[in-house]
Amino acid sequence: MSEIEETKQISRRQFLKNAGIVVGGTAVGSSFILAACKGDASEVTKTVTVTSATATFKCPYDGQEFDTFAALQAHVEEKHQEGDAVTITKFVSPYDGKEFDTLEALKAHLDANFVSAESAPGIVSFVVNGKPVTLKVEDYWTLDFILRDRLALYGTKNGCGVGQCGACTVLIDGVPTFSCLTLGIECGGKTIETIEGLSNGTNLSPLQQKFVDKEAFQCGFCTPGFIMAAKALLAENPNPTVDEVREAVSGHICTCHNFKNTITTIAGGV
């Protein structure tokens, strides 16, 4: 069997994982250990899990390998600042090591020369606060984890993880949605807005400014969720009554119990 025929049997997922493709995000899936893809099929299908200090830790940005996690961490902190989180570096073909600047170019190359690339499993592209990102994600990751722990957008909170508190609310295509119940892999092509996207970097949005002026928060943990729900409400109903606001935020919990203040602040719009 030719090399190409042999490799056809192996799932796309394995190749992408083991080839150390870096497609943005600070760490790629559960891949502190990434063995380079070799021609031998049996080696490629293995995924090695490390529990001891003898395994290697590979930098997801530039591929350098280190003997200890501490060394990798020091390297990342020195060379790749947190702002690199959303930088796409390169797309590497697992078959022949060729590098491409875009996912489309890689897919075209794979289609032309190797297996069909209708969709690259485990890779998703969407827009966050106006910025396009492409990430490799695990199928079971929820969007709140991706936003916080891969894109370093910590403003979205996790208060319960099961849709009972509203702290994780983001806007997906303008619709207020619980990110803790949204699978990241299903967000392809979506436009996502988080609390970080509201100000233009210099000035607060009028809604945020109103929250500041009215001191509409106590500890602040529920606040991003409330503000995102308020943003969606005001887009549809710019001058809501207190009753309309109460209903719009009826899925949001505030354990400091600052409801009255928050609700009267949103009422009347900005």
Binding site: Q218, C222, F259
Partner: protein, 759 residues
């Protein structure tokens, strides 16, 4: 509302002063414990016990370690705060460190734990019975008489009284604090130095816990906190720092973010205590209380030191009862540990004695408000018990009178269950309750503050505490700005929440922060002020004044001026020009003893910085469904002196909401057979939502009784705001003429229907 004429403050108490951290909150930049190190950390999860009492006999982590993405497993052998003996269903028994939190949680279920079951006891009444199995939490008993105080001869006084009444009150509600931010932390080691970010109401206290747990030198433990997602007393401990530190140590110091799920956070952290009572009254027919014998019983769960002993406090100090007995028995049970919820004692304690008081009023066919006012201790009368302190808080009686007036009580009150049907068929009820509170005087520990002066003439406060709901560090900013005579906008937060570079600001609980850290920063600012003035007299604009001394100076609006001719003034920027770096430090404490004079405030015999509060509630009970709607709720709080006005208003308002929470909503459900908690999520725990009450029906008023003890006469205000949910419970009695048996839960419709005989 100021009850006494006091000098006008320039910064303190001003409504227009904004929260300095508002920008962080509304932009999502407020950094809570886990908001860091994306992509550069591992994740921890814990496994919890599924028996209520016994011993771990075997832990097999083979399958968990074989799961892809798992780095290590920890047990009680690695985590100093974990035990091999099991004392409640839900106790932590093992933990996993993995590449992502989903793997970590899943792998916990792959750890096989074997237990040897031992007989335990879940129910507090069962635990008190002779012959009950020992819970094992205290060595030789399930109970402890925490308070046993006799005043005079209560037995004789009651026996001889014209009217005697024995009352029993069932257990008040119990629930987990369920702060919106689940318990979590990030820890990492560099050599033998530990670094941890945690949510915290007492960062220096947390550090002490970590130091003791690991037996480490204190200078190797570096703890940090900034924003805490709600505490309610449940974030006063190490808040998982010990667990995440142990996990990080297991993976050679790599950063580990232990994030407890909502369920596991609720199982392994503090719950509110349920308290019941037997209260015997002796009184005259016209309502003079001659004697009381009050016995309280509180479930401390698996906390041997559950701080229930003071739950009688308000009964003891609010009413003039010459002969009295107060006993508090703390019970241990094989259920999660009980601890502070916004209070050590008062919400459930008050809900016990206020029910008893209302029963006495009904028995005497008397308006409860009249009964209260007939027996209430005068504002400045000393305590009837040693050491005969004057509790201060001259506002309790005033607050009762204000509530009576503001609520229209006189025109609304009716006898319980009589003449109370509204147009829509619901039953109307109204009640007022309140008491002297035990807060604001949380122990005599020294709390400290450091204030630094910047070259541009602005100041920074370095607060050894974090930001929870009430914005504690902002209170310190107010005090410093006032004391230094600076504009509010010229004082900011410097280093805060870091144990390495701050003094212990104390616990943000028990209303102790204002008195403790507040006084600490007051003294730090006085220290700095002296130094600034000594440089000011050397600066152009002042140095040419003949014979000028530091005592000739005062400051306002960030300017230093010569008192005899205020046109002679220079800015603080000018003072700092050419001046070496300046800082002031000071200590303060919240205590029962006379404190130092502050500014223009004279020292007096009034010597306490307790917060106090009273509340009134008006309800409508639907006799068909048992639903209770709060038509109006008034919260009157004696703040002493209101320092951070915005924060205070929010606390009082949320206090009303939190009283509704306690009375009508949040509770817990259990499988009694196994001791399993079935409500470790917001839905089963019934956390109230925006639709459960109307904010426009909530009213609040701060009273400034201005005691000398606290900084600028301030008390703490956190706990008093929430302590009178008995107002709602008693209003339901007024509406229906029936007492709803709480059965360790809130007054949900099913219980109201049962009281009405419809279920």
């Amino acid at each position: 509302m100021a009850l006494v004429e006091r000098p006008e403050m320039k910064v303190i108490g001003k409504l227009e002063n904004p929260d300095k951290l508002a920008y962080h909150v509304v932009t999502g930049n407020a950094d809570f414990a886990s908001d860091r190190l994306a992509g550069r950390k591992l994740y921890g999860a814990i496994k919890c016990s599924t028996i209520m009492k016994g011993v771990i006999t075997k832990i097999d982590a083979t399958k968990a370690l074989a799961e892809p993405g798992v780095k290590a497993v920890v047990t009680h052998e690695d985590v100093p705060s974990w035990k091999e003996g099991i004392f409640f269903w839900g106790q932590p028994v093992a933990g996993v460190i993995a590449d992502d939190p989903f793997i970590a949680e899943r792998a916990c279920n792959l750890i096989e734990v074997e237990y040897e079951d031992r007989p335990g006891v879940f129910d507090p009444d069962e635990a008190m019975k002779s012959g009950a199995p020992l819970t094992g939490i205290r060595p030789d008993s399930n109970t402890n008489l925490a308070t046993n105080l006799d005043r005079g001869d209560p037995d004789t006084a009651i026996a001889n009284a014209p009217v005697q009444l024995e009352t029993t009150q069932g257990y008040t509600t119990t629930y987990q604090h369920a702060t919106l931010e689940p318990h979590q932390s990030v820890s990492w080691w560099v050599g033998d130095n530990l670094y941890s970010w945690i949510p915290s109401q007492h960062i220096h206290g947390a550090k002490n816990s970590v130091v003791n747990a690991f037996g480490m030198p204190a200078n190797k433990v570096h703890l940090f906190t900034h924003f805490t997602g709600c505490g309610h007393g449940d974030k006063t401990g190490d808040n998982t720092a010990i667990e995440s530190a142990a996990m990080s140590r297991k993976v050679n110091g790599a950063p580990v973010n232990l994030i407890k799920t909502r369920q596991k956070s609720m199982l392994t952290h503090s719950w509110m205590f349920a308290i019941k009572s037997e209260i015997k009254w002796g009184a005259t027919a016209d309502g003079e209380i001659l004697g009381v014998d009050a016995k309280f019983y509180g479930d401390g769960g698996s906390n041997a030191m559950a701080p229930i002993g003071n739950c009688h406090f308000g009964l003891r100090t609010t009413y003039d009862i010459p002969d009295a007995r107060f006993q508090v028995t703390t019970i241990t049970t094989n259920s999660p540990a009980r601890g502070y919820w916004r209070c050590v004692n008062d919400p459930p304690g008050a809900c016990n004695y206020d029910r008893a008081l209302y029963k006495l009023a009904a028995h005497l066919d008397m308006d409860p408000y009249q009964l209260i006012m007939k027996n209430i201790r005068e504002n400045d009368a000393p305590d009837l018990d040693a050491p005969y302190r004057v509790w201060g808080g001259i506002a309790v009686k005033d607050m009762f009178e204000w509530l009576h007036e503001e609520s229209g009580y006189a025109g609304k009150w009716h006898k319980p269950g009589e003449g109370n049907v509204m147009d829509d068929g619901r039953l109307h009820g109204i009640a007022i309750t309140g008491h002297w509170d035990s807060h604001g005087s949380v122990n005599g520990a020294s709390r400290g503050g450091i204030v630094t002066m910047c070259p541009d003439g602005t100041a920074l406060v370095n607060v050894g505490g974090g930001r929870g709901p009430s914005g504690g560090p902002i209170t310190c900013v107010h005090i410093v700005a006032e004391t230094l005579g600076m504009k509010y906008e010229d004082v900011g937060l410097g280093d805060w929440g870091a144990t390495d570079t701050t003094l212990d600001a104390g616990i943000q609980a028990g209303s102790g922060f204002t008195s403790g850290a507040g006084t600490g920063f007051l003294n730090a600012a006085l220290d700095l002020r002296g130094k600034l003035f000594s440089y000011a007299i050397q600066k152009a604009g002042l140095r040419d004044i003949e014979g000028i001394t530091v005592d000739d100076l005062d400051a306002e609006n960030s300017e230093v001026f010569y008192k005899k001719d205020p046109t002679k003034r220079i800015t603080y920027r000018q003072v700092m020009s050419g001046t070496p770096p300046l800082a002031g430090s000071g200590f303060g404490w919240a205590s029962h003893t006379k404190n130092r004079a502050v500014g223009n405030v004279p020292l007096g015999e009034v010597c306490n910085s307790n917060g106090n509060a009273c509340s009134a509630a008006e309800v409508a009970v639907d006799p068909e469904t048992g639903e209770v709607e709060v038509l109006n709720h008034w919260n009157a709080v004696d703040t002493g002196r209101t320092i951070f006005k915005q924060g205070t208003i929010k606390e009082m308002r949320s206090g009303s909401e939190l009283q509704i929470w306690q009375a009508l909503y949040s509770g817990s459900i259990w499988d009694k057979a196994s001791g399993a908690c079935l409500s470790s999520n917001y839905t089963e725990a019934m956390m109230p939502t925006s639709m459960c009450f109307k904010g426009e029906n909530l009213h609040q008023q701060d009273f400034e009784s201005y005691d000398a003890a606290g900084p600028y006469g301030a008390h703490g205000i956190g706990e008093p705001c929430v302590t009178n949910y008995s107002s709602i419970i008693c209003a339901i009695f007024n509406a229906t003429g029936k007492w709803v048996e709480p059965d360790k839960g809130p007054c949900t419709p099913d219980k109201v229907l049962k009281a009405l005989g419809k279920a």
